[in-house]
Amino acid sequence: MIGQLIDGPLWYFSLGVFCLGVLFRFFTILRAGLKPDLAIPRAGGAPGALRNLFTRFIPRRDVATRGRLTLIAGYLFHLGLFALLFFARPHVDFYAERITGFGWPALPYWAFIISAEIAFIGLLLLWLHRLLHPVTRLLSTADDHIGTGLVFLVMLTGCLALAQSFEPLRLLHLFLAELLLIYFPFSSLMHTFNFVFSRGYSGAIMGRKGVNA
């Protein structure tokens, strides 16, 4: 009965909250408004915005050295998560069945496992960094820890259900994923989408000044 709830209504509810919530967050950003810039630009804002969107993936020289722990663990986690979230066979099958109606090539099993291991290493190191580094300790709010924790639990329960032989384990994983979807729009996890706005706005301001942000 619980299983039917998790597979059925709760899935649709969480997906709905996620989609509407994300859109709502976009709306609150745009609603805050932006005054037009009356200064004569040196170059276009739009190219600057687009450029910044991609160049921010590459860190600056001195921060790449001073912040190398964050950088390395951060990329390990994000790349591993991206690979397993979108290219693990069980996930591709899930999306094909429930969202898109079509699938796409999936990673071989060993690559899935290695992506998961890389993602775990990155996430654990990042979380430890957040707890141990004075700067991130000072900055971190409950939201940061809940977000990290939820993502970790989703990943862990996914790992525990890898044998794909026990319904309760699969349902636990799905349930936690649904909780994550519900929590997502109200947390800093929104950086997943919002970074496009923030990199874009900064890239535009600096682009108009003629600075490669």
Binding site: P108, E117, L125, L128, L132, F166
Partner: protein, 366 residues
């Protein structure tokens, strides 16, 4: 042909294999050794030499005297051997010796530590905790330590569930729930195994220099590090106890990782015997490590005052350092590296709110 780890059919076979093994294990209580022994003695009592025409055949097949491999059309590592007698040996070892004795070992060590705590008590810093600190572990060092610690604990937990599940957990939670738990533990254990290998490598690279044998280490060891009695023995950054644990962790850890990898990737042509040996060495070495880590956790937390600070804040107390790592503390003091508690607090951002402690600063509006 490219070797692919866990292609679907192998995974299915493995699943089938596990399922089969699980069934076998569940059926074992029904076929107890006493019943089997009873049947054997009954057979031996009946000493009339009636020649069984197939007895010779089955004796050869049973291969009690060792594995005989014959020829077969099936291409596979063990397909020439009809029966592996060591399987029975291994199974008995695991059921009758490994599981009970490791249980006694773990319980015993736990008891010993508890006794030690109640008798010897928390090892205090004789001079008392001071306001002066020394920088001991960098951020990176603390990160990789807690990383390997959490991964180790997870692997130990899942491993012990797999080891003691049938004897301790099934009676308590029933078979269905345990099968779920066991599957989850197995998957978790297998995924995090290579993660532990990475963690071990990071720990080795970072700490190996400080764990090389130095003058005075043997003396420390012979004096037992002063753990009995009130005396303290001088030592460097790491004392001989810590160095021994490091090398044990690394060397035993290599065996753990190696045997673990053999077990989790049975696609490199491992024979059953190899797998059995890998399992036994994995079990024995991990139990050894668990016991050692229990002592490590004990002494690093409740067992010794001031021991945990270094690995959490990065700074240790000066008096603690003078008593437990005298030579290192002296070098730090000579180099002028002593830091005040207030400075440590400042560096950790522990001053409340945004207000900066005034260094001749005025209040706003004046």
């Amino acid at each position: 042909m490219g070797r692919v780890l866990f292609p679907q059919n192998v995974a299915d076979a493995m699943k089938g294999g596990w399922l089969f093994l699980l069934c076998v294990l569940m059926l074992l209580p029904l076929v107890t050794s006493t019943a089997a022994m009873g049947a054997e003695t009954a057979e031996q009592a009946q000493a009339i030499p009636v020649p069984n025409p197939s007895a010779d055949l089955w004796r050869d097949v049973r291969q009690r005297d060792g594995i005989m491999t014959g020829k077969t059309q099936v291409a596979g590592v063990d397909s020439g051997a009809l029966i592996n007698p060591y399987g029975e040996t291994w199974r008995n070892f695991r059921m009758r010796q490994l599981i009970p004795y490791s249980g006694y070992l773990l319980a015993g060590v736990l008891l010993l530590l508890a006794l030690f705590y109640f008798i010897r008590g928390k090892i205090r810093v004789n001079a008392g905790m001071s306001e002066k600190k020394l920088f001991r572990y960098s951020l990176y060092e603390r990160m990789i330590h807690w990383f390997i610690a959490s991964v180790f604990l997870f692997l130990a937990l899942t491993g012990l569930i797999l080891l003691f599940g049938r004897s301790l957990l099934i009676p308590w939670m029933g078979q269905e729930l345990f099968s779920l738990l066991a599957s989850a533990s197995k998957e978790g254990h297998n995924l995090f195994g290579p993660v532990f290998a990475v963690a071990l490598l990071l720990i080795f690279i970072r700490f190996v220099r400080r764990n090389i044998y130095q003058k005075g280490d043997l003396t420390w060891l012979l004096k037992g590090g002063g753990i009995i009695g009130k005396g303290h023995v001088p030592s460097n950054f790491f004392n001989m106890g810590e160095k021994s644990m490091f090398w044990l962790l690394i060397l035993v850890g290599i065996v753990i990782v190696g045997s673990g990898l053999l077990l989790v990737f049975p696609v490199f042509g491992q024979a059953r015997l190899t797998m059995e040996l890998a399992h036994v060495s994995h079990a024995v070495t991990t139990l050894l490590m668990i016991v050692v880590i229990m002592g490590h956790i004990y002494i690093g937390s409740v067992g010794m005052e001031g021991a945990l600070d270094g690995m959490t804040t990065g700074y240790c107390d000066l008096n603690w350092a003078r008593e437990h790592h005298a030579q290192w503390a002296e070098r730090c003091e000579q180099a002028g590296q002593v830091v005040s508690e207030a400075e440590v607090s400042r560096l950790r951002g522990e001053t409340a709110g945004g207000h900066i402690p005034p260094a001749g600063a005025q209040e706003s509006g004046q």
